[in-house]
Symmetry: C2
Subunit: 306 residues, 2 copies
Amino acid sequence: MNTIGIDIGGTSTKYGLVSESGTIIEQGSIPTCVTEDPQDFVERLKTALNPLMKNVSAIGIGAPNGNYYSGNIEHAPNLKWKGIVPMAELVEQSLKLKTRLTNDANAAAMGEMIFGNAKSMKNFIMITLGTGLGSGIVVDGKVVYGHSGFAGEMGQVIVIPGGRQCGCGRLGCLETYASATGIVRTVKLALETPESKSSLRGQELSAALITKAALEGDELALNAFEFTGEILGRALANAVTFTSPECIFLFGGLAKAGPLIFEPTQKHFSNNLHNIFQNTVKILPSALPESDAAILGAAALIKEPS
Amino acid sequence: MNTIGIDIGGTSTKYGLVSESGTIIEQGSIPTCVTEDPQDFVERLKTALNPLMKNVSAIGIGAPNGNYYSGNIEHAPNLKWKGIVPMAELVEQSLKLKTRLTNDANAAAMGEMIFGNAKSMKNFIMITLGTGLGSGIVVDGKVVYGHSGFAGEMGQVIVIPGGRQCGCGRLGCLETYASATGIVRTVKLALETPESKSSLRGQELSAALITKAALEGDELALNAFEFTGEILGRALANAVTFTSPECIFLFGGLAKAGPLIFEPTQKHFSNNLHNIFQNTVKILPSALPESDAAILGAAALIKEPS
């Protein structure tokens, strides 16, 4: 049987028909929030999915602030829908198919486990380095949801008390440093020093542009990657003490910078890892193709043992 | 059927015959490391346990640096036995009973789940505040051991990079601040300021003495508790983002200081907790009587679903 994987993003929602082996047979996308009414979204989704409904057993949804237990999207800051939206229930009622929902990083972790590099792993952590930093923690072959349903929010670990202002209202959260927006902030701060020379001065900054500058040898850009890797490597070394993963996968925009981000992260990870965990844990890139990962991850959600 | 619970400590090893309902029917203790030969210990243990072997189905052992998967005690710094000691195997061979072993904090978590305040909980964290800081993390009703068997080493989270020297060789680990020895170090540092007034000046410092001074209103002692609670509360708020527990239990010597440690810990925990987790998690004292906890915890190890 096939499944439908749906990835609800701030701007657009991607969906795909996924075979049991993890092939996306057909896919498409619709705008997410045309109106503030989630029911309107569900109607448009139903129309869009109609041609894909071939031998489908269930639907999996990844969404920001998605709660696995309730199937709700709760207070997602980047969506027009306000408050608590019972999305899994709305989709299930409309499409008459079993529907599960979780947050996007948990969905990516499921995708890695079912279709990616974590196929044989029981304990690993998935880190998504996008606009923010998301994480999905797998223990004993199952994604950890915890008591609240919101476990695995490593982007919200305070790594520097009194540090950078985070969108959550607190200061010094990991994602204010280690993410696409985090590295942009790091470069902006460095450029405030008038004597710092960089090809990035006066540019519209983005993680992609900083990566390009670093690859061309721009020292300020290289230092920004080193700093990002220092903060991330330390945080990952601390993370290991909680669930002792076999592997930590890095995924998303910033992970595509390859050795620029992996090398400093690995160095500071190893330097800060407790002896007892040395040689028990690897840091690797995700095997999921980025364009398909969200759909595959959401589809994989249905495959979790319950 | 009864079980035997064994708590291997640096100086002495406690053991008890535990009923299914969690009553210690009989108990005793022997010195741990009389010689450097663990086989000698096992022989003495067998002799000591002989009168307790009534309707016994299995043996559970809590030990420093105990690995649940291998049953080994690995490089325990406070024991005379060096290297890797296959303790579960040695005991099983000698006493001809199924034997499981884990570290002491994991055993305490099991004890809390089977006999204590976590009876109805599926997700919680046990923090033991003794000489060091130990932790046992329970997810979905099972203690997390992770890939290495050493998951739940929260005392080894680096909370202040470049901070206090830890026995592990690194700097700034949580247990160098939040433990019985941590608060002693905090007071010693404060006393280095010549103008600081305190009844503790010139005393042989201990957590118990600092507690007594704080209860009598000694400002330096009270500040030490405030600081300890700040470090611990922050670390616990970060911990919640990983596994989203329903409760964090504090156990051990320092936890007995009651409101002196619970109040600042709770305050800084709440101040640093991400909104999404507010009102989902409590900090409570353990329900296990300290004198019996280690034996009950070790006995409870046998009851874990495998």
